[in-house]
């Protein structure tokens, strides 16, 4: 018996018991829909985390100044107690595993343009900073190394600041006043959105760190920086970069063996990777719980197929008498079970996709229906059909034709 006739036979017998087939499918529909929705929610969470990771920049280390600077016992004779511009330059130039390093320093203050003013974060950095954070300039340009060396009064505006101060006007080339000093806006930053901590990353003005130190912060010791941001050459060498940075800074700060660091190195990517793996585990868990209902749906199919085989014992006997082989009967019932499971699976995918859309509309969660999940759900329902249909089908195919013909 070829597949086409077998499929036709299966379809007819399912249609003959419409209510029963529909209820059996319902089990599969609910199972598949649950898997699709759960995976969509999990994928959505993953995607949000990934986007946040990308917004921070990849393969980043953050060097923070030491917090134990008060004790008189520390023997950092002749070394600076905090991080310096020279440290940042050394880290950026001397280490094989480091692609770039940028000193950074934060302050805050009002930015004024015309009759508009806006208090925001003033981020001092090196020109490399934008590239390290994978931050594009949408119009205008980044500031240059020369401008940094000269402590020029130039700045880049984040989208939020630009919106508040300039509205629809083009800020590039305009003069803004930051803490009463005039600054030329050289560029506008691309929109970055929220940071993993929920801060608006576009509410910022970026300017050369030297300018911030000299003209604005009024820092007692020029050359001192807040943090050093370090980018490793690639993801595999982050650990190595961490070691090299630590070793270099210990040497530069003349910290002897056994003494504590007067700085600390944090792996930003690692923290975010942790968050990512947490959501991944969550989405696996959700999918796992949902697939339990898929298994329950499969048991429903098995149950109804067993009933069907018993009910149709006589039919099986007749088919055997006219020459059906074991595998003809086996495939007939197996195809019936798979057809039930696949039809249920197809409806389940539809309802699941609809459910995911509704979830993101009403609950405001990001949901992502990946083609892989759809194919997987479809394949899985076929597998459920085969797995749970096999036993009843085999039972049918092993019947004794004489007994089966006699069955009332």
């Amino acid at each position: 018996m070829n597949l086409y006739s077998a499929g036709k036979v299966a379809f007819r017998s399912l249609r003959a018991n419409k209510m029963r087939s529909a209820l059996t499918m319902l089990g599969m529909i609910i199972g598949v829909a649950a898997v699709i929705i759960m995976v969509a929610i999990g994928e959505g969470a993953n995607r949000r985390i990934s986007a946040q990771i990308a917004s921070v920049g990849s393969n980043l280390l953050l060097v923070l100044p030491g917090s134990t600077t008060s004790g008189g016992l520390r023997s950092g004779f002749g070394s600076a107690p905090t991080l310096t511009m020279a440290d940042a330059r050394a880290v950026g130039k001397e280490l094989s595993s480091v692609r770039a390093a940028s000193p950074a320093m934060r302050s805050s203050g009002p930015v004024v343009y015309g009759n508009q003013n806006w208090s925001t974060i003033l981020q001092g950095a090196a020109p490399e900073y934008l590239d390290m954070r994978d931050w594009k300039v949408t119009s205008g340009r980044n500031f240059t190394a020369q401008e940094m060396d000269a402590a020029s009064k130039v700045c880049l505006l984040g989208q939020t600041v630009s919106d508040y101060l300039f509205g629809t006007e083009d800020p590039v080339g305009k003069i803004v006043r930051i803490k009463r000093s005039p600054f030329t806006v050289v560029g506008i930053l691309d929109r970055k959105g929220q940071s993993p901590q929920g801060q608006d990353q576009d509410d910022v003005v970026i300017l050369p760190i030297t300018t911030l130190q000299k003209k604005l912060a009024g820092s007692a010791h020029a050359g001192v920086v807040g943090v050093i941001m370090v980018q490793a050459v690639d993801a595999d060498r982050i650990k190595e970069a961490e070691r090299q940075v630590t070793a270099l800074l210990r040497q530069r700060h003349r910290i002897g063996p056994g003494q504590d660091d007067d700085f600390s190195v944090r792996n930003l990517s690692e923290m975010l990777a942790l968050a990512e793996s947490a959501t991944r585990i969550m989405s696996l868990l959700l999918g796992g719980i949902a697939s339990v209902s898929l298994v329950v749906g499969g048991i429903g199919i098995m149950n109804i197929m067993l009933v069907s085989v018993t009910e149709r014992t006589r039919e099986i006997g007749i088919r055997m008498a006219v020459g059906a082989r074991e595998r003809d009967i086996l495939s007939q019932f197996l195809i019936e079970a798979v057809l039930l499971a696949l039809t249920g699976g197809a409806f389940g995918i539809l309802f699941g996709a609809g459910g995911a859309v509704l979830t993101s509309r009403f609950a405001g969660w990001t949901t992502v229906i990946s083609p892989a999940a759809v194919f997987l759900a479809f394949g899985f329902s076929a597998a459920v059909g085969v797995f749970f249909g096999y036993y009843p089908a085999r039972k049918a195919s092993r019947m004794d034709p004489i007994e089966a013909l006699r069955y009332e």
Binding site: M1, N2, S5, R12, S13, A16, R314, E315, G317, I318, R319, M320, A321, V322, G323, A324, R325, E326, R327, D328, P401, I402, L405
Partner: protein, 242 residues
């Protein structure tokens, strides 16, 4: 052909019913020539249905030999017997055994579905078989829309559609009135006469057995009588002008 179509020797069949062993056949020897029309008679429990099941390759003997067209079929696997059933044998049962959800034509097509006959051929041959039993105009009816005699004719069409060597009929007239029975027996005789299909018929009605050429009587799992039918019955021709 000359050779006996069926050669059975020392056929024994025992069933186990719990602790009791029942001997349904206690050593049966029988040969049936090609083109013969044999009626098997005997009281219920005499072993005639068991013999039919074995001859029809639905069951295997416990011991003994069964040659069909010179080929030993006793040792065939389940699938081997299934293939033999659909290519060489046809069955007609007392209860018609049509599939209720299939039309007459689809019921007749059933044996051809399993041997991979293309759908076009299947349809044509099923219609031809239905015409041969006078039911061409009922091809699209469901069994429930047909009378008992018509259902049995559909079953006969199904049995003959693969041009079998032998048709086995187990009490084919058991559920039918005498006029319809006569009609059915007439069809069997025609298939036997015109197409040379060997007929084996199980019945307990002596007047039905008279349609055959040879009667074998069973008692307690053995053949107790084997004689030709001297004055063969033919169906009464219908009144002309009907």
């Amino acid at each position: 052909m000359g050779v006996a179509a069926i050669e059975v020797s020392g056929l024994v069949k025992t069933y186990r019913l719990g602790d009791v062993t029942v001997e349904a056949l206690k050593g049966v020897d029988l040969s049936i020539d090609a083109g013969e029309f044999l009626a098997v008679m005997g009281p219920s429990g005499s072993g005639k249905s068991t013999l039919m099941n074995i001859l029809g390759c639905l069951d295997r003997p416990t011991s003994g030999k069964y040659l069909l067209d010179g080929r030993d079929v006793g040792g065939l696997s389940r699938d081997g017997r299934a293939i033999l059933r659909r290519s060489r044998l046809g069955f007609v049962f007392q209860g018609f055994n049509l599939l209720p959800r299939l039309s007459a034509r689809e019921n007749v097509e059933l044996p051809m579905i399993y041997d991979g006959t293309p759908a076009q051929d299947r349809r044509a041959r099923a219609i031809a078989a239905l015409s041969a039993v006078g039911l061409a105009d009922r091809a699209h009816h469901l069994p429930s829309q047909l009378s008992g005699g018509q259902q049995q004719r559909v079953a006969i069409a199904r049995a003959m559609v693969n041009t079998p060597a032998m048709i086995l009929a187990d009490e084919p007239t058991g559920n039918l009135d005498s006029a319809t029975s006569e009609e059915i027996m007439g069809i069997f005789q025609r298939l036997n006469d015109e197409r040379g299909i060997t007929m084996v018929l199980v019945t307990h009605e002596p007047d039905i057995a008279l349609f055959s050429k040879r009667v074998v009587r069973f008692l307690d799992g053995r053949i107790v009588e084997d004689r030709p039918v001297p004055d063969r019955r033919r169906p009464v021709p219908r009144e002309a002008g009907g």
